[in-house]
C-alpha cells in the first residue's frame, strides 16, 4: 500500500429529487510516473492510482482510467443527478493492488 494514501470526498448532505449535485474527491498519493530516475540513475518504478470509480446506489456515476501524467494527489470534481436518498461509494485502485474506498450519504427529499 502506498504510503499516506488518504481519500477525501465532499458530497452535499441534502438535495431535492432530480437535483444535480456537485461532488469533489481527492486522494493523497505520490503518483510516481515511472519516468523518473533516482540519484543512482535507477528508474523509480511506476506507482500510481490507475482507476477511480464512483457508484450511487449500485449504479455507476463515473469510471476514470488514470494515466501516469496525472499529477500528485489526484482531484476529481464532477456532478451527479440524484432522484432518491442513498450512498455514494468512491473507489480508487492502486498499481500495487491496494484499493481505497470512501463513502458518503445524501438525503434526498
Amino acid at each position: 500500500m502506498a504510503e499516506n494514501a488518504k481519500p477525501r470526498v465532499r458530497v452535499p448532505k441534502t438535495a431535492a429529487p432530480g437535483d444535480i449535485v456537485e461532488i469533489k474527491t481527492l486522494i493523497s498519493h505520490q503518483m510516481e510516473s515511472g519516468q523518473r530516475k533516482d540519484a543512482e540513475g535507477n528508474v523509480i518504478p511506476r506507482s500510481i492510482i490507475n482507476r477511480f470509480t464512483c457508484d450511487f446506489n449500485g449504479q455507476n456515476v463515473i469510471d476514470v482510467a488514470i494515466e501516469p501524467a496525472v499529477s500528485t494527489n489526484p482531484y476529481f470534481e464532477f456532478t451527479a443527478k440524484v432522484d432518491q436518498s442513498g450512498e455514494f461509494v468512491f473507489t480508487w485502485y492502486d498499481d500495487d493492488g491496494s484499493v481505497y474506498e470512501d463513502r458518503a450519504s445524501i438525503e434526498v427529499g
Partner: protein
C-alpha cells in the same frame, strides 16, 4: 513614514511607472473560507501594530499579494492542498509513536486542545526562559515525553504536525508578546530584520518594507507577514514553514544562511510575527 507612494514615484522615475502602478499594491478582497464547520471570515488587513506605526499604516496578509487562482485555493478547505498535510498530521497525532506507546492524543486529547497556541508563538517559556516556536514545543514532547529522537526542524513529520496545530488557531488574531522576557529576543530579531546579508547586501526590510507591492522580477513583494504559515507552496507542492522561508530569503541574497531553528531565526520569527500582530492566523495558507 517610509511611504509606499515615494517608492512608486521612484519607480516612475526609472520609467517603470505605468507597469508598476498598474500592478502594484495588495488586491482588495475578503477571505471567507468554507470549512467542514461552516464559513469563517479571516482578518487579512489590520491597522499596523503600535511598534510599526512609523513604517506602515496598514498591515496585509501575503494572501492579498497573490493571483486570483492562488487566493481562491484558500477559500475552500477542500481545494486547499495544505489540508492533505493536516490530515497526515492528524494521523500522526493519534498514532502511538512513543517509546511506551504514548500518542499526542493520550496526553492532550484532541488537537483542538492546541487552539490558540499558534497565535501567541513564538513565545518565551516561563519556566526555562527559552524562546519557543511551535516546533520546539512539538520536539519537547517528542523527546522528553515520548522518548524518541527529535524530529528534524523541517522534516515531514514536523511540518504535518505544525499544520495540524496551526489550523486549530485559524481565525484567531496573532498577538505575540514583545515585552517582558520576550524583549531581548524581539530586539535581536529586529536587528536581524534590518541587517543586510549576502553578496546582494539586502535586508528583510529592503524588500518587505521599502518595496512591498512592487515586483522583484516576477515576484509580487508582500509585507513578509508570517500569519499564514505554514503555507502550502505551489512551487514546491508541499508545506513550507516560516523558518524555511527565512532560509530561502537569506539564501536569495547569496549569503550563507542561518539554520532553520537557529537562535537567530527563532528571534527573527518572533519579530516578524510581531509585525503581524492584528492579522488572523490562516492555519494553512496557500501561496505560490
Amino acid at each position: 513614514m517610509r511611504s509606499h507612494a515615494t517608492t512608486l514615484a521612484a519607480a516612475a522615475l526609472w520609467g517603470l511607472g505605468s507597469l508598476g502602478a498598474a500592478l502594484a499594491g495588495p488586491v482588495e478582497d475578503t477571505l471567507t473560507v468554507t470549512t467542514d464547520a461552516g464559513e469563517i471570515t479571516l482578518v487579512t488587513t489590520a491597522p499596523a501594530p503600535e511598534h510599526l506605526r512609523d513604517v506602515f499604516d496598514t498591515i496585509y496578509s501575503g494572501w492579498h499579494f497573490r493571483e486570483d487562482e492562488t487566493r481562491d485555493l484558500e477559500r475552500d478547505d477542500f481545494d486547499n492542498p495544505g489540508m492533505v498535510f493536516v490530515d497526515r498530521g492528524r494521523d500522526m497525532w493519534n498514532a502511538e509513536i512513543g517509546a511506551n506507546g504514548e500518542s499526542c492524543a493520550s496526553c492532550h486529547g484532541g488537537p483542538e486542545s492546541m487552539k490558540g497556541l499558534r497565535a501567541v508563538t513564538p513565545r518565551v517559556d516561563p519556566e526555562s526562559g527559552k524562546l519557543m516556536l511551535v516546533e520546539d514545543y512539538i520536539n519537547e514532547c517528542v523527546t522528553e515525553r515520548m522518548g524518541r529522537e527529535a524530529w528534524g526542524m523541517t522534516s515531514n513529520e514536523m511540518k504535518d504536525m505544525l499544520a495540524l496545530i496551526s489550523l486549530q488557531s485559524r481565525g484567531e488574531i496573532v498577538n505575540v508578546a514583545i515585552d517582558g522576557p520576550a524583549r531581548p529576543f524581539w530586539e535581536k530579531g529586529r536587528e536581524l530584520y534590518y541587517t543586510r546579508f549576502g553578496q546582494l547586501e539586502m535586508s528583510c526590510a529592503n524588500c518587505h518594507e521599502d518595496n512591498w507591492g512592487n515586483f522583484i522580477r516576477a515576484d509580487h513583494l508582500s509585507q513578509g507577514q508570517v500569519n499564514g504559515f505554514p503555507t502550502y507552496r505551489l512551487k514546491d507542492a508541499g508545506m513550507v514553514t516560516a523558518q524555511q522561508r527565512f532560509v530561502g530569503c537569506v539564501r536569495d541574497t547569496r549569503a550563507e544562511t542561518f539554520k532553520a531553528g537557529s537562535d537567530e531565526f527563532k528571534a527573527l520569527e518572533l519579530y516578524v510575527a510581531s509585525r503581524g500582530n492584528g492579522l488572523a492566523v490562516e492555519g494553512v495558507s496557500v501561496r505560490h
